[in-house]
């Protein structure tokens, strides 16, 4: 069974929501990424979304843009990101890794090389922010035939017809973008999100993650009660930016641990 499915099955049995940290690979330096991934797992991460840095991250807010800029100026390339997963797997065979990024680096590497390498280093899913299902036919087939789950986004603007269509193509889990905006915005409305989640559940049995705008432990705990996974990106990345490199491995996982604890206590009341 693949790692994503196994992970969500276990969490479902334990009646817990997944905690999914996002970090940009190579931020602030490539050498720090793999140790940080391990530290995040120790601090309670169930799945890791590993960002592929891109020069023009159109859907991201300033925090993740700057993370991309730091990673790029440290020389991080897509092939380095894939190498990081390979090294991570030497010690961790169970935590699912989802690569998240924009299409151009993948397109320039070539779809085939990308999916073959991603499969061989044991990536579990791929989320390409600027590749909607309408444009995904070719890459989608390649991903699936190489045991890589194409992860799709759903948004507040997504119509019921589109939700239905996207759900039929989705694998692994669905990522609900909690608000109209870029990553790291701050207007998340829990009640609105809950309504939309109820609507989406009509069309799919796949786990539903929620991201964009989850900044603190209490929001994470609230979202954990209505979804299957909590994605935290900008809040984490901001701490990477604010912390001297030598202390990142201590400070950043500690923040994740706060979210984990808030999500797990009090125990989740319903699934």
């Amino acid at each position: 069974m693949n790692r994503l499915k196994l992970c969500f099955n276990q969490l479902r049995e334990q009646q817990r929501a997944a905690l999914i940290p996002y970090i940009t690979a190579g931020d602030p330096t490539p050498t720090l990424t793999v140790p940080l991934m391990h530290a995040l797992v120790s601090a309670g991460a169930d799945i890791i979304e590993l960002g592929i840095p891109f020069s023009d991250p159109m859907a991201d807010g300033p925090v993740i843009q700057k993370a991309s800029e730091r990673a790029l100026s440290a020389g991080t390339r897509l092939r380095d990101v894939l190498d990081m997963v390979k090294i991570f797997r030497e010690q961790d065979q169970t935590t699912p890794i989802v690569l998240m990024g924009y299409l151009n680096p993948i397109e320039i590497m070539g779809y085939k090389t990308f999916v073959e390498t991603a499969e061989s280093v044991e990536v579990d899913g791929v989320l390409t922010v600027d590749l909607p299902p309408e444009e995904m036919a070719e890459l989608g087939i390649l991903l699936r035939s190489h045991n890589l789950a194409p992860i799709f986004l759903l948004a507040p603007t997504t119509t019921p017809e589109r939700i239905k269509r996207i759900c039929t193509q989705a694998h692994g889990y669905l990522y609900y973008v909690s608000l109209k905006g870029v990553t790291g915005s701050s207007h998340l409305n829990v009640a609105e999100v809950a309504n939309k989640i109820t609507e989406i559940r009509r069309y799919t049995h796949l786990p539903l993650g929620v991201g964009f705008g989850i900044k603190d432990a209490s929001t994470a705990a609230q979202i954990a009660t209505i979804s299957d996974a909590v994605v935290v990106g900008s809040a984490l990345v901001q701490r990477i930016a604010d912390t001297p490199p030598a202390q990142i491995l201590a400070v950043v996982p500690a923040f994740l641990r706060e979210l984990r604890n808030a999500m797990d206590v009090p125990p989740r009341t319903m699934g």
């Binding site: 023009d56 300033p62 092939r79 299409l103 905006g181």
Partner: protein, 621 residues
């Protein structure tokens, strides 16, 4: 008359492989479906063969492959001797043979013509009245790169009284484009399919034949240019809609509104009214007689988009989109801007229609274009500096997209060029095509006919598409899109994705990009802020690949020289963007005769660039 270029039926293009020296090469050629082979009987050629070799080749050849014997200024008894020994179907003469000489052997013959500058092709075709075809060798020894070949093609008239065979410089890589562009009766290849002189390479011959058959696709897509993009915004593999999920529905709503109001007569009347009374259309088509005379060739006409309100073509589009924004009930418009022209045009229509306006501009560009920043503020717009990335146009576009995704309910994003996600490329083309439609009518009145050449600068490419689009189906018109070569393509400091980039995905569409080997977008350079962009509209990418438009590049220095030329000779100060198109015109015009017509899109006026020009020349104002 042979007029295959206008023929809707797409005929098979015949292939001749010339300079065969070995029977096995002839056999491979025949198996690949080659229509003719050429045997060289000219002793100075490295591919010359003996009578015995020729006999061996012909003996093994299966039926329905024409054998052509090639001669250069040969004595008649030598030709007769070969004819008596080798079973040739046709002769081909490559020297200065007269029509009388060629006709004396009682065999069908092909006359080869080398493309000297003063060669009059139709006249020659008439002179060799008994020739079964004319072969044009388009190779020009002294000219580097593709430009020489392009000029040669342009000299090929549409109506020639003989079937046309194209030779010289053909390879498996360029044959599709040559066929798509010229629609010849046949192509003739020799060196392009060889591993050594006279030794044909089976792999290369196969690739060449594949290229020939691929040209059918090129020809078919060329014939349906008016029906593109498809319903999802694709121009071939380019275009499309590459955005995050949140924007998919807003873009769909925009597409529906745009398609609806295009059919709405009240909307169209309002648009036309504003184009006339607010923008000042139609813009004149001006015969630049002094400049034409100085260059000593074709007659140059300038489409005066610089005379529009706000001084550039940009306002054609912003008026259209602002009207659409009003109809869609949006109260706020946003825009990205590089040079500031699109920002000014957006701020202007926002003032005109009472809309709130925010313009995103790279922090670097804000410094370069202080006057336009102040203009926008005077018009009531808020100009927001973009500090991320390279702090130029591409980053302003990223930031405008971020704003849109956050305020999608009340905000209309007015994109300034024929790029971005569907439906922007087709919508902006529609609003800018007024340039080409007017030009068509005006040149017919002024010159009594359509032009021979169109030239426009290409950054994102909206002024170019605006001029080109209504002429794409007129196959005889040669069209040039001029990119910014900056400090020179070789230096890497340029903004010429079509000439030196590769396909990728950025800003919502697949197109040619300036991207490094790791998929990161490269910083661009151009003297003109309006061309300083790493992508280009997807329709240009498609027009490049199918060969309908030739894309070339002009350096900062060449553009600057053209800026001065037009200013001093015609009293018209062009924008530095438009100066790139003018600089290319300077190269083309002298190569054409005085009865030819070139139209250059003078997309904007140069007042905004005075500081840039002065600084470059060490003058402080």
């Amino acid at each position: 008359m042979f007029n295959t270029r206008q023929n809707r039926f797409i005929p098979h293009t015949r292939v001749k492989i010339c300079g065969i020296t070995r029977p096995q090469d002839a056999l491979v050629a025949a198996q690949l479906g080659v229509d003719a082979i050429g045997l060289v009987f000219y002793e100075k050629s490295p591919r010359v063969i003996t009578v015995e070799q020729a006999q061996a080749i012909v003996r093994d050849l299966p039926p329905f492959v024409t054998v052509v014997g090639l001669f250069v200024n040969a004595k008649p008894p030598w030709v007769s001797h070969i004819l008596s020994q080798v079973s040739l179907d046709s002769l081909q003469f490559h020297g200065e043979e007269t029509p009388e000489y060629c006709a004396t052997f009682g065999k069908p013959y092909i006359k080869a013509l080398r493309m000297h500058p003063d060669l009059d092709i139709p006249l020659e075709a008439q002179r060799y009245t008994q020739a079964s075809a004319i072969l044009l060798d388009s190779y020009v020894p002294d000219v580097q790169g593709g430009t020489g070949v392009v000029f040669d093609w342009q000299r090929i008239p549409t109506h020639i009284s003989k079937p046309l065979i194209i030779a010289g410089g053909l390879t498996p890589d360029n044959v599709s484009q040559v066929i798509a562009t010229l629609r010849p009766y046949a192509v003739d290849v020799s060196g392009g399919v060889e591993s050594a002189k006279g030794i044909k390479d089976a792999t290369k011959m196969t690739a060449f034949m594949k290229g020939v058959s691929m040209s059918i696709t090129y020809l078919m897509t060329k014939d349906i240019s008016h029906s593109l993009p498809d319903e999802h915004g694709h121009f071939g593999t380019y275009g499309g809609c590459f955005v995050a999920e949140t924007l998919m529905q807003p873009l769909e709503e925009l597409r529906q509104a745009y398609e609806h109001y295009l059919q709405d007569s009240t909307f169209l009347a309002e648009l036309n009214n504003d184009l006339h009374h607010f923008v000042g259309r139609p813009s004149p088509l001006y015969h630049a007689t002094r400049w034409s005379e100085q260059l000593g060739g074709a007659q140059i006409y300038l489409k005066r988009e610089d005379l529009n309100h706000t001084g550039a073509h940009k306002i054609n589009n912003t008026v259209g989109q602002a009207l659409l924004a009003k109809r869609m009930g949006k109260t706020r418009v946003i825009a990205e801007t590089g040079a500031g022209q699109h920002g000014v045009a957006t701020a202007t229509v926002a003032a005109r229609f009472g809309l709130k306006c925010v313009v995103y501009m790279g922090a670097k560009d804000i410094k370069r274009q202080a006057i336009n920043v102040y203009r926008m503020r005077l018009l009531g717009a808020e100009v927001r500096a973009v500090e991320s990335g390279s702090q130029t146009l591409k980053d302003a576009l990223n930031e405008a997209m971020r704003d849109w995704v956050t305020h999608v309910d009340d905000t209309f994003y007015i994109i300034g060029t024929v790029a971005g996600p569907h439906p922007y490329p087709v919508m902006v083309r529609h609003f800018q095509a007024v340039i080409g439609r007017e030009t068509r009518q005006q040149i017919k009145v002024l010159a009594g006919r359509l032009p021979d050449v169109l030239i426009a600068c290409v950054g994102g490419g909206s002024n170019a598409i605006g001029l080109f689009y209504p002429f794409l189906e007129d196959r005889n018109i040669v069209i040039y899109g001029v990119e910014a070569a900056g400090e020179g393509i070789a230096t890497g400091h340029h903004a010429a994705p079509l000439c030196a980039g590769k396909p990728g995905v950025l800003h919502g569409n697949r197109t040619y990009l300036m991207t490094d080997d790791n998929g990161q977008i490269i910083e661009t350079h151009s003297i003109s802020a309006g061309l300083d962009y790493p992508g280009v509209g997807p329709e240009h990418a498609w027009l490049k690949d199918n060969g309908r438009v030739q894309y070339v590049a002009i350096t900062d220095q060449e553009a600057l020289a053209a800026f001065h030329d037009l200013t001093k000779l015609e009293g018209i100060m062009p924008a530095l963007e438009s100066s790139h198109a003018l600089a290319y015109c300077k190269k083309v015009a002298p190569t054409l005769s005085q009865d030819k017509i070139i139209i250059v899109n003078l997309s904007g006026r140069g007042d905004k660039d005075i500081h840039t020009v002065a600084t470059l020349e060490g003058i402080s104002l």
